[in-house]
């Protein structure tokens, strides 16, 4: 600490005034990174969100190539290949995933390997096994993941198109418009989503289109609240007033002046709405009003294979794991984003 030891003080020099130029070098300049650079930097600090990001990337990658590399079609029912346990090359040599499964029968436990029974079974590999109809589960799982990812995309688009716009308009114009818009949301919010979605699907017949619509109708309310609240806070600020006195139009103020400043909150909110939407789809499938067979979604796979839970447990594992991982990852990423961008924000 004591610098005198290193370089002896020259008493004459040291006790003289530095002079007027001393104060010139005052304010420290803090270099500011761009929004995205800061975002990446801060998110990278959070282990959870890195995990989320990587696993989402992996899942997306698998969803893209998975159905292509297995050698089976998602709706292809191979005769004789029903209910086969997972068998994976290389790993099978270690005594795991070699196609054997233990069946519980009335007389006790029985170990079987269907790959040894069927004709040409030596050359057959079903990495995740097959379902009771002989469809390859690896293909179906990743095919189903595509649906869930599509739903995630829908959720974000809906959030942005409907939720954000609704909230911003309601907050910006205020007064009677806001009042009417908010009362309507309150009424809509008073109906449990479960009811809205089931009723909708009954009228529209199950299918991807009606699921999309169901998410569109119910998914945006949270976002609209956040957008409105942020808008209310910002619209009175000086810089917006300045823009208005300069003659900026409402639309310009909303999208050019205010939107960039509430962007982080909206980003976080839309990330949080993704797991909700994915869950809604999986739930609908499980209840039996999801996408129709032979198409697959993670939810419908869980629902189908649930019937074989006690006989062929392996069937339900892949879709459950992927679904849980997907939702967990999106939540972790959203958490990380919130901590990085706006730690005080609460999600409801």
């Amino acid at each position: 600490m004591d610098k005198t030891l290193d370089h002896p003080i020259n008493p004459i020099d040291d006790f003289t005034f530095i002079g007027a130029d001393n104060i010139s070098q005052i304010d420290e300049v803090y270099e500011e990174d761009s929004f995205w650079k800061q975002l990446v930097k801060r998110v990278m600090k959070n282990k959870g969100s890195i995990f989320g990001f990587i696993s989402i990337t992996l899942i997306i990658f698998m969803a893209l190539i998975g159905p292509m590399i297995s050698g089976y079609e998602f709706d292809e029912q191979v005769a004789g290949h029903e209910s086969m346990a997972p068998r994976i090359p290389i790993l099978e040599n270690f005594g795991i995933f070699d196609g054997t499964e233990t069946l519980k029968t009335s007389t006790g436990e029985l170990e079987v390997n269907k790959y040894e029974v069927i004709e040409g079974g030596e050359e057959v590999y079903h990495w995740f096994g097959t379902d009771v109809l002989g469809r390859d589960l690896f293909t179906r799982t990743w095919e189903g993941t595509r649906i869930s990812l599509y739903i995630a995309l829908v959720a974000v688009v809906v959030d942005v198109l409907i939720g954000m716009t609704y909230g911003m308009v309601s907050g910006y114009y205020g007064g009677r418009i806001d009042n009417i818009m908010q009362r309507s949301v309150e009424v809509l919010n008073g109906i449990p989503n479960l009811v809205v979605v089931t009723l909708l699907i009954i009228i529209l017949k199950p299918g991807l289109m009606s699921i999309t619509l169901a998410i569109a109708i119910t998914g945006w309310i949270g976002m609209s609240r956040v957008a409105r609240a942020s808008m209310l806070k910002l619209k009175e600020s000086e810089y917006v007033l300045a823009a208005r006195t300069m003659g900026a139009k409402d639309l310009t103020i909303m999208y050019k002046e205010i939107l960039p400043n509430i962007f982080s909150q909206l980003l976080i909110m839309s990330m949080f709405s993704i797991p909700n939407a994915i869950f809604t789809e999986a739930f609908l499938a499980f209840v039996g009003i999801g996408i129709p067979v032979p198409m697959a979604s993670l939810g419908s796979l869980i629902s189908e294979n649930f019937k074989s839970l006690t006989t062929h447990f392996y069937m339900i594992v892949p879709p459950v794991v992927v679904l849980a991982l997907l939702m967990l990852s999106f939540n972790l990423l959203a958490d990380g984003l919130r901590d990085a961008l706006d730690p005080t924000m609460k999600e409801v």
Binding site: I191, T198, F286, V287, I302, L323, M327, L328, V348
Partner: protein, 313 residues
């Protein structure tokens, strides 16, 4: 407070009316009439239509519908159990679901509150990280995944708990489904409580309370939790919704004869009357809970409770 409650009640009634209107409209839109039976001739159908008032003007039918709904007359089931009054089906099943839901929400909130408070008090400790991780997992993983896991492991593999519901098991039959359902509640409550408590604990007024020399349970419960609870109870609404959806699936997995399972059956067999009745019941239940939350909000927060007296005088 009076005016506040009145406003909330009015809002609830309006919402309920909108729902009834929607349900009624759906009735009209749904394919086929209840008497689409091929064995009936057109004349016979007409007679039946007149008998049940289906040829009356729409507004008359609507008011009759509203009256029926409010008096618990939901018509008859078409397919699930032919010609049984839907209200009879509900009578047997509603208590089971309410019990299951009640247990889950009580279990989940108590554990969740405890976890959340502990995490907030030991902010940035190992306990905090563990609680946070647990709640992220709980929020992320749908309750039916828990249900499947519990059912397979504790029900099937270990055989500790009944895998399927049966009346003879009594409350034990609710063990696994209640735990599965309460996971989401627990996680959400823990997460929210933690955030709120951390915020409250760092507030100026807690510092003042501390500087008075008040500490321990008195500080945590009388001041911190009391203030945090104003925000915490707002998640009760979303929680009830997630419990409802969760119960549909969980009741199916454990074959619990509640309204959730009934809803799934009704959806799968297109039993419209049952679906509409359940939609009404679910909505009414939800609206009732939301009303309760709003009123509790007023009770807990003197700023709302006393708002009226101030402006009056």
């Amino acid at each position: 407070m009076k005016k506040y409650v009145l406003k909330r009640v009015l809002m609830s009634v309006v919402t309920l009316m909108v729902i009834v209107l929607v349900l009624f409209t759906l009735m009209q839109l749904l394919p086929g009439s209840p008497f689409n039976d091929e064995r009936l001739s057109i004349e016979q159908q007409q007679v039946l239509m007149t008998k049940y008032g289906l040829n009356d003007p729409i507004p008359v039918q609507f008011f009759r519908y509203v009256k029926n709904m409010l008096t618990g007359d939901f018509g008859k089931s078409y397919t699930i159990s032919k010609d049984t009054d839907v209200s009879l089906l509900l009578q047997n099943r509603l208590p089971i679901s309410l019990l299951l839901g009640g247990i889950s929400i009580a279990l989940g909130s108590v554990v969740g509150l405890f976890l959340g408070i502990a995490a907030a008090l030991k902010h940035n400790s190992l306990l905090d990280s563990a609680a946070t991780f647990l709640s992220v997992v709980g929020v992320s993983i749908p309750s039916y995944v828990f249900a499947l896991g519990l059912s397979y492991y504790f029900g099937f593999q270990l055989g500790w708990f009944p895998m399927l519901y049966s009346v003879s098991d009594g409350l034990l039959a609710f063990a696994l489904p209640a735990v599965a359902l309460s996971m989401t509640v627990m996680a959400t409550v823990a997460r929210f409580t933690r955030t709120e408590m951390i915020e409250v604990l760092s507030s100026d007024y807690i510092q003042l309370v501390e500087s008075k020399g008040v500490s321990g349970g008195h500080l945590i419960f009388k001041h911190a939790l009391r203030n945090a609870s104003i925000s915490i109870i707002t998640i009760l609404g979303p929680l009830v919704v997630s419990l409802m959806t969760g119960s549909l699936v969980v009741e199916k997995i454990f074959s619990i004869p509640g309204i959730g399972q009934l809803m799934v059956q009704a959806i799968q067999s297109n039993d419209y009357n049952v679906i509409l009745a359940l939609a009404f019941v679910y909505s009414a239940l939800y609206i009732f809970v939301m009303l309760g939350v709003d009123i509790m909000y007023g009770v807990l927060d003197p700023r709302i409770r006393l708002a009226k007296e101030d402006s009056n005088g």
